[in-house]
């Protein structure tokens, strides 16, 4: 993309990341050299495809600090969250508490609202509660490690411990966090499920990852049933597999999974430390340039509504002008080939929480983002609001 569009300043990585050549080559290689289905036959190219998918599963497991038999491939983070929510639907009863936060992506909100609607469970938001509140009655706590609109990193370990110690479950959405920080399930300590999306991590779209703690897998009902998920089948009976394959019916997105494996290799080979250092450096530079152009008043997510549980920030930032519509600013930026997200960024509760009915301008960094990109954006933002004022 960057080669073909040198004029483009792409700052919408929280929406989707651009794909490295190695990822594109890996997908092409599958189609050109071993385009076969997996896990069903034993001829050469089928074995090659199966091995590559297994390799991707192991790479993902190592990446997030879990065992490969705890990694389920889905189609997206959204699908993965739905798998958890609807897979546990029989576990909830009227009056049970599902704890969320006001900083969630809509995909980590709507499935839980649906579960509450169907079961009579009650939704509560951690931001509305006193930090000293009794969280032991919470049946499940679902939260994002990093906000997709402010980039803030959240630490709920004390709350998660209380919930976990009483038998509650913890669902962690790592979709944005993995691009901007280390995420290790073991170090999270209280994490029963974790989800992320391939396409936010330099991989192809159409693949999500769901970590399910091994002893919970048999308690989760699959969202979709089909072939390749059972140990026994007869005219009137089937028995599901016990491992992650019980949640992977039919033919998966083979090329996507192989592409995700290539993306993780890309990250590992580039050096995760270097990427995260780069992210921090860009963030510091960004705030420096905001100050230079007198734009700090428009930083979204600061101020008295800021979060008591946020402890740092990754390379996602937003600006909100009190009078100028973000779509208008984005329109002028687009005319200078600067790609940003305008609006509520699928985080309606966040926008509402900060009283931004029209949304924000959000920028987000990646490994290929440069200081020049940030300078162009900040200068163009200044120019846009001057033009529209």
């Amino acid at each position: 993309m960057i080669t073909n569009h040198p004029e483009l300043t792409y700052l919408d990585n929280a929406n989707t990341t651009l794909k490295p050549r190695s990822v594109i080559d890996a997908i092409n290689s599958y189609y050109r050299s071993y385009d076969a289905n997996i896990g069903r036959t034993s001829y050469g190219i089928a074995v090659a495809a199966t091995n590559r998918v297994n390799e991707s599963r192991q790479l993902v497991a190592n990446f997030i600090g879990v065992h490969s038999d705890e990694v389920v491939f889905t189609y997206s983070s959204t699908y993965a969250i739905n798998q958890i929510a609807l897979g546990l639907i029989d576990w909830f009863h009227p009056g049970d508490i599902i704890l969320l936060t006001l900083h969630e992506h809509n995909s980590n909100l709507i499935p839980w609202l649906e579960v509450a609607s169907r079961t009579g469970a009650t939704i509560k938001y951690v931001d509305d509660l006193n930090p000293d509140a009794d969280f032991s009655r919470v049946k499940l706590f679902a939260y994002s490690l990093m906000s997709n609109i402010t980039g803030k990193n959240y630490n709920y370990v004390n709350i998660a411990r209380q919930i976990h110690d009483q038998g509650g479950l913890i669902v962690v959405d790592a979709t944005q966090a993995l691009t901007h920080s280390y995420v290790d399930v073991r170090r999270l300590r209280y994490c029963d499920f974790l989800v992320f999306s391939s396409h936010k991590l330099y991989g192809p779209s159409g693949v999500g990852v769901l970590y399910i703690r091994r002893d919970l897998q048999s308690q989760l009902q699959p969202l979709v049933y089909g072939s390749q998920t059972f140990t026994e089948i007869s005219r009137d009976h089937f028995k599901l597999l016990s491992g992650p394959q019980r949640f992977e019916p039919g033919t998966p997105n083979i090329e996507g999974i192989i592409g995700l494996g290539a993306a993780i290799k890309f990250i590992n080979q580039t050096s995760r430390d270097a990427m995260l250092d780069h992210d921090r450096e860009l963030l510091n530079y960004y705030y420096n340039r905001l100050d230079h152009y007198d734009l700090t008043d428009y930083i979204f997510g600061a101020g008295p509504n800021s979060d008591r549980y946020a402890e740092s920030q990754g390379g996602i930032c937003a600006l909100a002008h009190p009078r100028i519509h973000p779509h208008d600013i984005a329109m002028l930026l687009d005319n200078q080939n600067i790609a940003v997200r305008a609006g509520k960024a699928c985080a309606d509760l966040v926008a509402d929480h900060y009283h931004e009915r029209r949304g924000v301008i959000r920028i987000s960094f990646a490994a290929y983002t440069s200081k020049s990109d940030i300078e162009k954006f900040v200068a163009a933002y200044r120019q846009a609001i001057d033009k529209l004022s």
């Binding site: 519509h325 208008d328 329109m331 002028l332 005319n335």
Partner: protein, 144 residues
């Protein structure tokens, strides 16, 4: 987006001609929840024609542009002919001006029609206007 079109949009945003309210007239309202645009469209109908029209509300520049073009086109026109007005018709007048001034053969303003998100903004005033068919017995129009 073509620079001519962009300049025209920004010009109308900063120098609207038809913004305002009309006392005694209940407006037609539309809200675009996905982006927060809210419009109130005021119409005065006399002898079956749009005698006066204004709009107000919190609008992005493209929604404002759509409203400006709509009001420009409906004033003094028979209301019966206007309920099926389309975005293409509104943009045809813009295209005529652009094509004439820049000697382009491509319809410049039609780029708005190709962007579903921005088209929805552009049609904010039209959505309010289309409600006239269902609400005309309830609206209090100023008539003489």
């Amino acid at each position: 987006m073509n620079q001519l079109l962009l300049d025209d949009i920004v010009f109308h945003y900063k120098h609207p001609i038809h913004r305002g309210t009309i006392a005694g007239v209940q407006p037609l309202v539309d809200v675009n929840r996905s982006c927060g645009d809210e419009i109130e469209l005021y119409l005065v109908i006399k002898n079956g024609r749009v005698a006066n029209a204004k709009f107000s509300g919190s609008l992005c520049s493209i929604a404002n542009y759509g409203a400006e073009l709509l009001v420009s086109q409906i004033i003094n026109q028979p209301i019966a002919k206007l309920t099926s007005i389309t975005s293409q018709q509104l943009l045809d007048s813009v295209n005529a001006n652009f094509d004439c001034s820049s000697k382009q053969t491509i319809s410049t303003a039609n780029s708005l029609l190709e962007n579903p998100t921005r088209l929805r903004c552009f049609e904010t005033a039209q959505r309010a206007f289309w409600k006239i068919s269902s609400q005309c017995t309830e609206l209090r129009f100023r008539t003489k």
